[in-house]
Point group: C2
Chain length 280, copies 2
């Protein structure tokens, strides 16, 4: 028995013999180009033997039966035998290595290893350590608690409370290995209208965040409703003051209101011309 | 004038009209399948108009001249006109949308939007907020400071100091929107050999991390050389004790020694059967 076909709903499977991060990135990036369809997503990581492959095929075929249309299957599986099993499923398979591997082997004049788990693996110890160091750096510097670490920083983010400094610093560390510190501009700093003295030696590595007052008001209200801190009027004052400060002191800045953490981080990397310490 | 061709060194460009994260993830994932070649990587995000496309082509062609062989170009550019310009370069272009888009349009029965910046964008406010909430949750819970938040957690990670709890919690928040708390097992806990009472109500959401004593010794020594804390003997005691505790209390655990943060997080998601709150 088949259920009614609903073309506005499609099952999507992300298959990977490892973490699944590449498969998800690939598939999601393609799917964002299509609107009005509800994608029912299932991620299947560590799919690294024939038994698991057969389970996945059964699961995909069941979705095909229930949906009455072909599931979309994004696969980054490397192992040749496991891939063959997956290709027998009743889904439309988008096989990442199949798409690019021949061309890449030709270009590089050597066969691919077809080895599992090389992407998003630990790499060498030094690379791993530098990433963790960057993360710890940004945690220990959070909210300007460790100004003594500013000399070692690659970048120091400024902004009012809840403008996105902490998530951005953490992402800069994880994705790029960048040593990101931050300084939260207080009401006193804003009233003075000048850069705090502690920042003066580091003018060339300052980068400001700003945000629309309405959005800031909404974010702060979720945390501290009915506080002076979250009032729209207070948010407006702080945002006006911080933007004036950035302009007066020639600190480059970006408005984070409609940006994701990834977008804020990539924008800062480019505009501040920061050297990354690692590739994702 | 051409420089000497060195086939063990290739220039690689990641081109994107947005953050570049998808282009880097895909390209790096393919490149990890080839060994013995030094890849000189350059990321070019926000490449979203003809002028920038022409600059990129010049830069790629210069690399081709200097290297004496074709650079590898991984592109996730969506705009048709910009893509046409990139295709004129003297590199081997791996065009991500070109590879999959026709098939996907056919499957879904509608044309792709060809709109820039839809991947890694902010999405809806609620999705963004839940990710930031998860991040803040994991920051506020760091090192067991807020046991009062345990009831709301999706998972509570256990482990000795420097076994990877904090980075894993942050990554679980960023990538999956999961509310991850952690509890650092102290020497007293280890000597008692029992689960701390504060954790008793949450047995079903505990997950342990362990690590090889040599590696732990190395990590701790980088931070605190010549301390009792970093001595190999102390590391051995703690690791032995924590693994005994996990076994005695039937807490599932994973050895993080040779795993990246992504791998640890994906492993925990799967083994603990956690429902993700968002797709990266």
């Amino acid at each position: 028995m088949f259920s009614v076909v609903n073309p506005m709903r499609r099952s999507v499977f992300f298959l990977s013999d490892h973490t699944g991060i590449t498969a998800e990135t690939l598939g999601r990036s393609l799917l964002t180009q299509f609107e009005g369809i509800e994608f029912q997503q299932t991620s299947w990581p560590f799919l690294d033997n024939m038994e698991k492959a057969e389970s996945a095929v059964s699961r995909i075929n069941r979705a095909a039966r229930e949906d009455g249309c072909r599931p979309l299957v994004f696969s980054t599986i490397v192992d040749t035998e496991v891939r063959k099993v997956i290709l027998t499923c009743r889904g439309a398979v988008f096989d990442f290595f199949d798409a690019f591997n021949d061309k890449l082997e030709n270009e590089l004049g050597q066969p691919a290893l077809h080895a599992t788990g090389r992407s998003h693996g630990i790499g060498d110890f030094q690379r791993y350590a530098s990433r963790i160091d960057a993360l710890n750096f940004s945690l220990s510097n959070d909210d300007g608690l460790m100004a003594s670490n500013y000399p070692a920083s690659d970048i120091i983010l400024l902004g009012v409370s809840r403008s996105g400094k902490t998530p951005t610093c953490l992402y800069l560390a994880l994705q790029y290995g960048v040593l990101a510190a931050n300084y939260p501009l207080t009401e006193d700093d804003l009233k003075a209208g000048l850069l705090p003295k502690v920042l003066a030696p580091y003018r060339d590595r300052l980068f400001g965040l700003t945000i629309d007052p309405d959005r800031l008001h909404r974010i702060r209200t979720e945390r501290y409703p009915d506080s002076r801190y979250s009032q729209l009027r207070q948010c407006q004052f702080e945002v006006d003051a911080v933007e004036s400060l950035y302009r007066r002191e020639a600190v480059p800045f970006v408005n984070t209101t409609s940006m994701s953490i990834e977008e804020i981080a990539a924008t800062i990397m480019q505009r501040a011309g920061i050297q990354r310490r690692l590739y994702g």
